[in-house]
């Protein structure tokens, strides 16, 4: 079950995703782990600037980093993304069942024999 802590963490995750550079970094990491230098390559940014983005992603739980101080390769944290994607999935099925009910209700409001066209 969700807690206030989870909620705060999720806010951090959504905030982390709301940035073009960080999404580009994630998209790169989808292809495999990479070092800061490798991640910085496509961007017109200093290493410290890239490091700052990585810190935001790490705090949000979207990536994990190795412990070797010099290289600290970054890897994507799939479980976190999975968690974030679930609300959309849950809400999709909720709306689908609501609309099934709307269909039933509409049929009650307009009896089929009153006006019938070619169904399906």
């Amino acid at each position: 079950m969700a807690t206030a802590v989870d909620d705060t963490r999720l806010d951090a995750t959504f905030a982390a995703l709301a940035n073009t550079t960080r999404r580009a970094i994630l998209a790169r990491l989808v292809e495999g782990a990479a070092t800061v230098n490798e991640l910085a390559e496509p961007f017109d940014m200093t290493l410290p600037a890239i490091s700052k983005h990585l810190k935001v992603l790490e705090r949000a739980g979207l990536i994990r980093r190795g412990h070797r101080a010099q290289f600290r390769p970054c890897a994507i944290e799939a479980s976190r993304l999975k968690e974030v994607s679930t609300w959309a999935d849950q809400y999709r099925s909720m709306w689908e069942s609501r609309f099934d009910q709307m269909d039933v209700y509409l049929t009650q409001l307009q009896p089929p024999n009153a006006k019938r066209g070619t169904n399906e």
């Binding site: 969700a2 806010d11 959504f14 905030a15 998209a27 974030v84 909720m94 009910q101 509409l106 006006k115």
Partner: protein
């Protein structure tokens, strides 16, 4: 409709209903009709108040019977677009019975549910049917205008699905 907002969709559902557009519009705008379909199975909607103009309030109360008794949930929001009978858009947050916004997870909602979401309904006549397109977009709390995360979700959820053993 900018291409940005198009890309920011997070839940998009298209349905075809065999009913005139005015009736489908009423499904969303007339409290009595709305109450008849909106609740999940086993839920009732005792309260639905719609001030149908841009900036006007929406307030919905839901009652769900659980093994632990009746659970009440409240939702508040504001109408963002009201173009009868083609387009309705509103924001929505969980609230208490007075309409004060509450954190979704403190209300027992699924993890990952954003603080404020935006629901948009587009209706188009197709013969004697009506095509309805629902767009439900989550807006993370505290990041105004930052709907970009939905784009990330669209792309990355695909990756996650492909890489997570079920």
């Amino acid at each position: 409709m900018s291409s940005d907002s198009e890309a920011a969709k997070s839940v998009v559902i298209e349905r075809d209903f065999k009913a005139p557009i005015d009736l489908i519009w009423k499904m969303w705008s007339d409290p009595e009709h709305f109450k008849a379909w909106y609740g999940p199975q086993g839920a009732t909607i005792p309260v639905a108040e719609f001030d149908l103009r841009v900036g006007g309030r929406r307030f919905v109360g839901m009652e769900v019977n659980t093994p632990n008794g009746t659970m009440r949930m409240w939702f508040t929001g504001e109408h963002l677009k009201v173009n009868e009978p083609n387009q309705l858009a509103y924001s929505e947050s969980m609230s208490d019975e007075n309409g004060s916004v509450q954190s979704p997870s403190s209300m027992g909602m699924p993890e990952g549910h954003p603080m404020t979401t935006e629901v948009r309904v587009d209706l188009v006549v197709t013969g004697d049917h009506t095509k309805m397109m629902l767009t439900h977009v989550g807006i993370p709390a505290g990041s105004p205008g930052a709907m970009g995360w939905n784009m990330a979700l669209d792309k990355l959820a695909t990756y996650v699905d492909a890489n997570t053993t079920r």
